[in-house]
């Protein structure tokens, strides 16, 4: 559906070279500004996915898109303001932490529409839409698959930090999902023992902890936590006979090195969600409050044959029922 999802290279480069033109104020010129959470635009994670969605939407609408990377959390407001100064029509902000600054800016600029990725809106502001996901559902689906796939009845989750709610939701969903399909299963869960600045950025710890989990006889491992989680996937890929499960986007694309074990990913489709919301802004159908994005399981890719047909059918049913709410995830 979108431009960038085929390659691991972000679509960033081309779009940023074009940037926002000087005449965004004009009715005819459609301008999207995106402010990242602290981190880089090519983070193979939510910043990148959101940007790909924005860039895709801009391409569809024949508009323009540009991003600013946040270096210091204290600059959130300033970064948003710089797009407002340049008369952007849409401002996309990424991450929960930037939510307050986004809400403040939205109230002050009713003429501009804001999208807050991952930012749950407790109160409704008409020109601010929070793009949120039921990560617990995605985690549950993946965990359910893991419960069916494990031969040792041990599965593990190597997670970023429990300070970020979506990560916890993924992890809890994973645990409950695994138990749902396999009551005998043992779930090993661990969070990175560092501050926020390193918790998502320590692939070494991720890899070594994944190995420790494997030594504990785990054979399906969920890596959820930015680079840290990716490190876990890469480690599992090097071991024989174990599966790994990615997170957020289809990591078959973003972490090609993990293809040796990557049976699926617990997806939350930020890219598509952002693109869709921007489309709604274009046609005027957008509303304030929260918009729930798609969650689900990524395709099995090469594991299509290795996953038994019975498991596949069973999991399809679970995915359907979890999505519809028929199967509760047990995560509040």
């Amino acid at each position: 559906s979108s431009t960038g999802s085929g390659s691991a290279e972000p679509a960033a480069t081309a779009a940023v070279a074009k940037g926002l033109p000087g005449d965004c104020a004009s009715e005819q010129v459609f301008c999207i500004g995106l402010v990242t959470d602290v981190g880089k635009i090519d983070d193979k994670s939510f910043n990148q996915a959101a940007w790909q969605g924005a860039a895709a939407a801009a391409a569809t609408a024949d508009g323009h898109a540009e991003y600013i990377e946040t270096v210091d959390p204290k600059d959130y407001a300033k970064n948003i303001q710089s797009f407002l100064d340049r008369k952007a029509d849409v401002v996309v902000t990424v991450g929960f932490a930037i939510g307050d600054a986004t809400a403040t800016a939205a109230k002050a600029n009713p003429g501009v529409h804001f999208i807050g990725v991952d930012a749950f809106q407790a109160t409704t502001i008409p020109n601010l839409t929070g793009l949120v996901f039921n990560e617990d559902k995605a985690g549950f689906m993946a965990g359910a698959l893991a419960g069916l796939l494990t031969r040792t009845n041990v599965v593990a989750a190597v997670l970023g930090t429990d300070k970020i709610p979506p990560v916890v939701a993924f992890g809890k969903g994973w645990e409950n999902g695994a138990r749902f399909t396999n009551p005998k299963v043992k779930v090993l869960t661990t969070y990175h023992p560092g501050g926020l600045d390193v918790a998502f950025n320590d692939p070494t710890w991720g890899a070594q902890t994944a190995k420790q989990a494997l030594d504990n006889t785990a054979d399906v491992i969920f890596g959820a936590g930015g680079k840290t989680g990716n490190g876990a996937l890469l480690e599992v890929a090097r071991q024989q006979g174990a599966y790994c499960v990615g997170v957020d986007s289809d990591q078959w694309e973003t972490v090609p090195g993990a293809r040796g074990c990557l049976v699926t990913s617990a997806e939350k489709d930020i890219e598509d969600g952002v693109a869709t919301l921007i489309g709604q802004i274009r046609d005027g159908s957008i509303t304030g409050g929260n918009a729930f994005g798609q969650v689900g399981l990524a395709p099995f890719h090469d594991f299509e044959e290795k996953v038994p047909a019975a498991v596949r059918t069973k999991i399809e049913g679970i995915v359907r029922d979890v999505a519809s709410g028929k199967i509760p995830t047990g995560v509040n």
Binding site: D162, T189, T204, K211, R238
Partner: protein
Amino acid sequence: MAGSLVAAFAAYGIWGFRATAVLGFAVRSSTPLALAAMCGILCERTGVIDIGIEGQMLLGAFAGFFGAAAFGVVAGVFAAVAVGALVGAFLALCAVTWRVDQIIAGAVINIAAAGFTSFLYRPGRVIGSLPAWRIPLLGDLPLLGPVLFRAQPLTYLTVVVVIGLQVTLVRTPWGRRTTAVGEHPGAADTVGIDVARYRYGNVVAGGALAGLAGALLSVEITGSFDRGMTAGRGFLALAIVIMGRWKPVAAWAAALFFGVLTGLVNQLNFGQVIDIPPQFVAMLPYATTIVVLAIFGTRVRPPAAAGRPYP
């Protein structure tokens, strides 16, 4: 040494694969720390403080990854070593020739390395990583096999480096002269030892080891590069150098101690044995280290000339 082996097997007897898992984690997580600490030891024993290890590792990881992506993993390792050595040469130039304050030179390396690798990083490359070498027979031993003898090449290399460094520092003319240069460069100078040459040589060699430690992260352990992926290991290595009292094997032991604690923390989390917040579990290795040091005290005596330019 023998005592720890006995303890390890006792643990294995009681906890089985869990002991293997924890000790395996300890060994693996200690190798980059130990190698980085060897850099610190080489530099400080020769009288140059290197707080730029973090940056050197990061550049090593960077060069290792992109070298591997372009020319294969072995070339990647060599690229990491070369870049580490190059940065070491820069540190030596600052510390010895320009007489720049050594802490500043290290800080410059850290800042520049973070900026440089972040600026130049392009995602999307994939590399294989170094395969594990299972040593025949030894690799089949219980406990010791999985923990020690099924490792990847750089891990074995680390063991060789640590023990080799210990022996050479204590037993060879080069080692004694290095010690003299770090303790009392005036004394070394007046017996005709070229202080500058020794400092250059050792700081460059140390840089190469830090680069290797970086390659360990990117080429051996993860097979990937990410910005800031050293995650403070270079600074931890500084503490390990001091805990090991500037002795290679002792520093390695300190790194292992740390690794065991961190591995235990993971294991506790896995087992959900205790229901306490992960932050408290995470503090455990660090708090334990402080407590142990406070109880036993370490009247450490750094190389007397560390940090001072000569003449």
